[in-house]
Amino acid sequence: MTNDFMLLMPLILITAGAISLMLAAAYEKVTIEQAAFGCMGIFGVAFLVQLSNCITGHVAPYETVFNNMLVISNFTRVAGLIILGCGFFTAMSAQTYFKQNNFCTTEFYSLVTFSACGMLLLTMVQELISVFVALEIMSLAIYILVGYDRKNKTAAEAVMKYLMLGAFAGAFFTMGAALIYGGAHSTQFSSIGQFVAEKGFFNNPALVAGSFFVIVAFLFKAAAFPFHAWVIDVYDGASAPITGYMATGLKTAIFAVFANFLVADETLRSSWVTYLFYFSIFTMFVGNLIAIGQDTLKRMLAASGIVHTGYLLIALVAVSAENFSGNVILYYLAAYAVGTLGIFAALSYLGGDGEKRQSFDDFKGLARVRPFSAAAITIFLLSMAGIPPTAGFMGKFFIITSAIDAGQIALAVFGIISSILSMWYYLRLVINMYFHEATDSFEDTTSNRYAPVGTFILAACVFVIGLYPVII
């Protein structure tokens, strides 16, 4: 029991931290820095605890306490680890970001923590309504974070779009949950799995329609084609650290729960594989086509995020419900998270006052002025593009391997082609940074070093994860 308690510790920590931060916000004395430190501290401690949990590999389906609603496995643990890491580095880069943009209040950090707690829940819940609740805990916090800059028109627009479409998708999710409940007499993944295993799947329209709606909701949150349209505008409107946070933590949580749901039963999974197949192909190519046309960095990264969703869908197609480990998905998520977080950390201190540097051309000649930042960004881009010896390459390699191993050769080939296509826009930034003379002085307005430090830690992580893929 105590052990199980330890396994829940990170979640508890985060929740408690979130609440206490919110309370602290009530006091005038608590400065933003302190809040930031607090936030970082909470994430850091939670991260370490989660790390120790990961090392003690022990599975705890809380039959008695939570009645099978929460399950902790290696999969959920590592996913949680990634999320906590994302939170930590987000706080770190936000630290510096708010030196150049002043719309921050203490609640910001508590909201980050709240959303993290939603994400952590998402990774381990095994029951549809809990999923809905967790989803909403996460989403509501993130809605606010997106629109945090009240003065900013684009932020307001972004939150509007995100909120409307998100709620729309949420409605689908509830409907789906209802139908599944109707079809399978339960909303718990395990019992749904048993039901499908016994009674079959396609002979039960309610179940089919329900799971269909649920999957649609997941695909929306994961920004898969054709539910991707919001992601670009929202990422563009949100502030850099939050964009990074959404792109990484949120995606991790969603894919964790998505995988958990799919592997509830093999027939359930296999009956959706064909759809996921097409989804992933379209997602990859549409993502590339959107990305190549973009001029601002954030929108490009958002579009490339869509492409990576496509890769993750490949991985989802390749998992099997029996002996499901999800290592490939997690590894790819980790690799992608490191890269994306790194770039947004860099953006949040290179972006300048009010994020004035946004387009590709704004970063011309960066290498001449700030070689190390340019090098770091290059490393992240290469990792996303999947060039060895970075983590991104390993992730891609494992995904392709698993796809071919699962007999999805076509999918693997499409993945390869799309990563060829993605070269153009990744290299475009590298070329701008290195092969042009500097037009901008990239002066450092803040004396704050957190985001740079975070960037370089992440840059190191790219290689560490790439060269020592331990979790595989």
Binding site: A375, L382, G386, I387, P388, P389, F393, K396, F397, F398, I400, T401, I404, D405, I409, A412, V413, I416, S419, I420, M423, W424, L427, I431, Y434, F435, P469, I472
Partner: protein, 510 residues
């Protein structure tokens, strides 16, 4: 120490290069480091050469598990085929630092990194490891070309990068496919090249995978019609980069074909050999003919290099030991001839500030040593007997005749085509009368002269006494051919020659 010599050869330069990049070292220090490191690896290379035993098996093997769950190992090894490409790199790289003394830090650092990466690609005995080095190899080229290249450099950079990466990603898919097939056939994950020859690959997917490999290598070599990145890249790149590209990196493409495609896809290889051989020989003629029309010395050399690579590749596709040995030998010969020619042109460009052929002339009178060395390298590249170029070309043509008479004859035309553009260029650059621009041309300095001397001597030695090299190459070549002839699909029906006269007692009187 010595059992890790390959690791040292790989990581010494890479680490040095990275340190240079990360520290605020000056140009001079950077060059010095490069010089020292490259000489160190030269010494190591020579050591390897003399310790190398004349047998087919991998030597100096290092094998450390890396990703056990996928059977990926840090597995290095050297055989007669990779040995000489490695040596070519080790021997030639120091020249760059000796000759080009005034470049920026990044220039030397990138050179170091690319040297290490190439060594890695050559020593890797694990497909994934090979792929990793293969990709790393490209990055320094990307940066050097983009940062220190000519005015049209960015276009060239994008072209070569995306072209090569596209190819290598296809190769990645093929590698994974092979590994997965191994997993399904033998029930364990393994990416070691040596194991892959046991695979039974068949069916359309195998053919696809074969072409996945072949296209990647064809782009790197480059084989016709995948050569279109080459002229731009070679012309725009700074001299050292062009040198590295032509002298060593292109060779790694050929090496990879021998190393990966031949053992793994023996069936497909034998089936498509004719097609590939045609692409090689057509590329040779096409690029050779194009070369004569070039106005720019470097561009002309670029095409001539592509033309020679066509012949070298052809040697690999001919499926007999003479041709294969010949092309491995020619790899080194070409590195020492055409590679060195690029260096000469680099010097020429630095001194004359132009590469236009019509702006030059009469340099032979101004710079006899320069002209003499250039001439020797040129003669080697047109395959004059007594120079390194002859042995390889002769063996390749010999083998090509056995493989297919028509291809053999076409391959033979390289003797003529090569000499046409080379003499044409030599006449207008070195002979005829000097103009006001070339009046000021100064001969090689002592350092430069001494830098080139060893290679020039090597060219002659390799022409007159190639046996020590060949005897190291041959066992590996024999082994590969044996692996091929095991595949029963070989078609040499086209070749019309009579069988060798066995059984006839020959009284050797001497």
């Amino acid at each position: 120490m010595f059992e890790h010599v390959l690791s040292v050869m790989i990581f010494l330069p890479i680490v040095a290069g990275l340190i240079l990049l990360l520290t605020p070292a000056g140009k001079g220090l950077a060059r010095l480091t490069g010089l020292v490191i490259s000489f160190a690896s030269l010494i190591l290379g020579l050591d390897i050469f003399f310790k190398f035993k004349e047998q087919a098996a991998l030597q100096f093997v290092e094998n450390v598990p890396w990703i056990p769950s996928f059977g990926i190992n840090y597995h290095l090894g050297l055989d007669g085929i990779s040995l000489f490409v490695l040596l070519a790199g080790a021997v030639l790289m120091p020249m760059v630092y000796l000759l080009f003394t005034t470049k920026e830090k990044g220039y030397y650092a990138n050179l170091l990194i690319v040297q290490g990466a190439m060594a890695g690609a050559l020593c890797a005995a694990d497909m994934v490891l090979f792929y990793i080095f293969w990709e790393i190899m490209l990055l320094p080229i990307f940066f050097m070309l983009g940062m220190y290249g000519g005015e049209k450099r960015i276009k060239a950079t994008l072209k070569i990068t995306i072209y090569t990466i596209a190819g290598s990603l296809l190769m990645l898919a093929s590698i994974v496919y092979v590994g997965v097939t191994y997993h399904s056939q033998f029930g364990e994950w393994n990416f070691a090249i040596s194991q892959m020859s046991q695979l039974q690959l068949a069916g359309p997917v195998a053919v696809l995978a074969f072409f996945g490999f072949m296209i990647a290598f064809a782009i790197k070599i480059p084989l016709f019609p995948f050569h279109t990145w080459l002229p731009d890249a070679y012309t725009e790149a700074p001299t050292a980069t062009t040198f590295v590209l032509s002298a060593i990196m292109a060779k790694i493409g050929v090496y990879a074909v021998i190393r990966f495609v031949v053992p793994v896809f023996d069936g497909e290889f034998a089936r498509f050999a004719l097609l590939l051989a045609y692409s090689g020989v057509i590329g040779m003629m096409y690029c050779g003919i194009t070369a004569i029309a070039q106005k720019d010395v470097k561009r002309m050399l670029a095409f001539s290099s592509a033309s020679h690579m066509g012949v070298i590749a052809l040697g690999v596709f001919c499926l007999n030991v003479q041709a294969l040995t010949g092309s491995i030998y020619q790899i080194v010969a070409h590195a020492t001839s055409t590679g060195v020619l690029f260096l000469f042109v680099g010097i020429l460009e630095d001194k004359m500030k132009t590469r236009k052929i019509e702006d030059l002339g009469g340099i032979a009178y101004k710079a006899p040593v320069f002209a003499f060395f250039f001439a020797i390298a040129m003669l080697a590249s047109v395959g004059l007997p007594g120079t390194s170029g002859f042995i390889g070309e002769f063996l390749i043509i010999l083998g090509a005749i056995k493989f297919n008479v028509l291809i053999g004859v076409l391959a033979g035309t390289t003797l003529i085509i090569g000499v046409c553009y080379m003499l044409w260029m030599f006449q207008r650059v070195f002979y005829e009368t000097t103009n006001e621009r070339t009046e000021g041309f100064t001969d090689l300095s002592i350092t430069e002269g001494l830098t080139f001397l060893p290679v020039i001597v090597l060219i002659v030695i390799m022409g007159l006494y190639p046996q020590p090299f060949l005897s190291k190459i041959e066992p590996a070549a024999q082994q590969h051919i044996a692996a091929l002839t095991k595949a029963d699909t070989i078609q040499i029906a086209q070749s019309t020659h009579a069988q060798p006269a066995e059984g006839h007692t020959v009284e050797k009187k001497n």
